[in-house]
């Protein structure tokens, strides 16, 4: 047990050191941080301009003597400004996972060290766990930097210091992001082990990424009847939520199909989970954790299941030495 632990530690340390020196990894991380900054800044400016619009409309109504018709002032919910960040992690975070997984195997294949390591008394699980832990530290480090930037930009631009519940919610977002990114890490490592050509493995991985991250959510979104008119179909028809539900109940098969398409993607589960926690989905805004997880636990189970399946698929490919060495 002690020996196994030290082997895992050695592999994890090596993975961490190798990846953090990679130009490719550093390029992607800098890009993700830049996107996080851009996203929150744009969101803050958007909110500020909404407030300015509100103030000018309120002034006009007041001057016209219609003070009673002035609507409530828009409220700033700091975690809602995380929407862009979550969506960028969906896209770029997944790419970071893919690149880390690819680098982790391509280094071994390039130097033909995988065969060498496996001829030594190193168990497949030790090798896999070492790589997983080493890259986990990297991903957590990147996400921590993202968390740090998000916290201070919201504070600096929005002028709001997050309370303890919001900080916990923010930490949950980053925990879910870690699980999500590690799924793509395992998927990419598995494909890089499996395919003879590393380039083909990377291309196939990007195609899977395209399907999960962009195509499936896009199909679900564009098939939504409410999304057929800018601003929402039902809103344009002056239909309230209960009436909308009554109408859509008559299209249950269509809605079930649409939902099934969306549910086949890990990205959609990751998104739903985070939108619930941060209150981006209105229904969960300001609610306690019990209320949020009463609905969202299934999404968490889905994200975890995707990760576990990818991890064991990688284990299966690595265990199958014939397949691995044929590919090496």
């Amino acid at each position: 047990m002690g020996k196994s632990k030290s082997i895992i530690e050695v592999i994890a340390r090596k993975e961490f050191r190798d990846s953090i020196k990679s130009k490719l990894f550093l390029t992607l991380v800098s890009f993700l941080i830049l996107l996080i900054v851009v996203s929150i800044v744009v969101s803050s400016f958007d909110f500020k301009s909404q407030v300015a619009d509100y103030r000018s409309s309120a002034k006009i109504l007041k001057d016209m003597g219609k003070s009673s018709e002035i609507p409530d002032m828009p409220q700033f919910f700091p975690l809602k400004s995380m929407r862009g960040v979550i969506e960028y992690i969906e896209i770029i975070g997944a790419v970071i996972g893919i690149i880390l997984g690819y680098l982790s195997i391509s280094r071994e294949k390039g130097k033909r060290t995988l065969q060498l390591v496996l001829t030594r008394p190193v168990k497949t699980t030790d090798l896999l766990t070492g790589k997983f832990i080493g890259n986990s530290f990297l991903v957590l480090l990147v996400l921590l930097a993202g968390l740090f930037f998000s916290f201070f930009i919201i504070w600096g631009l929005g002028g709001l210091l997050l309370n303890i519940t919001e900080v916990i919610k923010l930490l949950l977002v980053f925990l879910f992001s870690y699980l999500y990114i590690m799924f793509f890490f395992c998927l990419s490592s598995m494909l890089s082990l499996w395919f003879k050509s590393l380039s083909n493995a990377l291309i196939i991985c990007f195609i899977i990424w395209l399907v999960f991250v962009l195509i499936i959510p896009q199909i679900g979104d564009t098939m939504d009847p409410d999304n057929q008119i800018p601003g929402g179909f039902f809103k344009s028809m002056n239909i309230d939520k209960p009436q909308e539900k009554e109408i859509m109940a008559k299209f249950a098969t269509y809605e079930t199909t649409r939902n099934a398409i969306e549910e086949s993607s890990i990205t959609k589960h990751y998104e739903r989970l985070n939108f619930a926690v941060t209150g981006i989905k209105e229904k969960y805004n300001g609610k306690n954790f019990g209320f949020i997880f009463k609905d969202s636990w299934k999404d968490l189970v889905w994200v975890l299941s995707f990760l576990i399946v990818a991890y064991f698929a990688e284990y299966a490919v690595l265990s199958n030495k014939r397949l691995t060495f044929d590919g090496g």
Binding site: K23, T27, S43, D53, N227, I247
Partner: protein
């Protein structure tokens, strides 16, 4: 000279075909074209029925002023609106792979080390590569055009008018130009990057900037909202800040110009104008695409001239 260029281009085409990359991409394009028509048709039918149900509900509530059914009068081509997103999203990414593979394959196999010992100049070689990429994309886009044309007629049951055929044809020509830009981007980085993975990831970063970051700066729309042609069409800047940013950035935003031209041609927008008017209105966007192609061709030739044919093995 043309014989050599033609030979490189034909060889590039053959390699892509042999590696099954071409077949693979062609299948994806065929699937996404069929999907686009099916989803557009299915959504249009459903929203029509949802509209009818909503009218019944409103009448039951005693509402007399009912908004008009805008879906009924939507042009037949508008059911292809998802194609705009598929081209700017999937097509462009796949084109990067085509451009990347067309040169990286030679680099990895060491062909780029020996090819210049023959009587072929670097300019002729790269021109042949570009021509090969162009031929591949033209073939893919032509197949996609035919499928769109036939499938829309099949599902709507109405033949296209001359103007609709012209709009569809121009839409696919503009799409071809858009795809060529990204394929050239893939080629450029395949020549100029030191490692294979950086050669693939760098154009993907540029793709993300063009597809998501610039549109977010000009419209404040989050990345996922940009995948829906309807939300893109409805996005208006809220304030002076976004208006200024939009004025500065939008003319140079390739994806937004492409989406705008595509939406006008397929009749997704509120105004349905003639082909010539659409082309005149979007001439700046078309010019931007053409100049991007010119710039990238020049960039590829320039990096090919500086390319170290005696390089050591390419890094992973």
């Amino acid at each position: 000279m043309w014989k050599k260029i033609h030979s490189v281009s034909r060889n590039g085409f053959r390699v892509l075909f042999k590696e099954r990359t071409f077949i693979f991409l062609l299948v994806i394009f065929i699937l996404m074209t069929i999907f686009s028509t099916y989803i557009g048709w299915s959504t249009k039918n459903t929203i029509e029925k949802v509209y009818q149900e909503t009218v019944i509900k409103l009448k039951e509530s005693g509402v007399s002023e009912i908004p008009l059914d805008t879906f009924l009068i939507a042009p037949a081509l508008s059911i292809l609106k998802n194609m705009i997103v598929y081209i700017f999203l999937i097509g462009s990414l796949l084109s990067i792979i085509i451009g990347h593979s067309s040169f990286m394959g030679d680099r990895m196999a060491g062909i780029s080390k020996i090819v210049f010992s023959r009587s072929i100049s670097r300019k002729e070689f790269i021109t042949g590569k570009i021509l090969g990429i162009f031929n591949v994309l033209t073939l893919i886009i032509s197949v996609s055009f035919i499928i769109s044309y036939v499938s829309v007629i099949l599902v709507t049951g109405h033949p296209f008018s001359g103007s609709e055929t012209a709009k569809l044809l121009i839409f696919y020509l503009i799409s071809l130009a858009y795809l060529v830009i990204f394929a050239l981007l893939g080629l450029f980085f395949a020549i100029s990057s030191r490692s294979e993975s950086l050669a693939l990831v760098n154009p993907i970063i540029v793709w993300i900037i063009i597809s998501f970051v610039l549109p977010q700066l000009t419209s404040a729309l989050n990345p996922n909202a940009l995948l829906n042609p309807v939300s893109v069409q409805g996005a208006v800047p809220h304030s002076r800040f976004f208006t200024i940013i939009q004025e500065v950035i939008k003319p140079f935003s390739l994806s937004e110009n492409y989406k705008e031209i595509g939406s006008s041609l397929l009749g997704v927008g509120p105004v349905n104008t003639g082909v010539l008017q659409i082309l005149i209105n979007n001439s700046a966007g078309i010019l931007l695409m053409l100049s991007s192609i010119g710039f990238l061709i020049y960039g590829s030739i320039f990096s090919m001239k500086r390319f170290d044919a005696c390089e050591e093995e390419v890094d992973g």
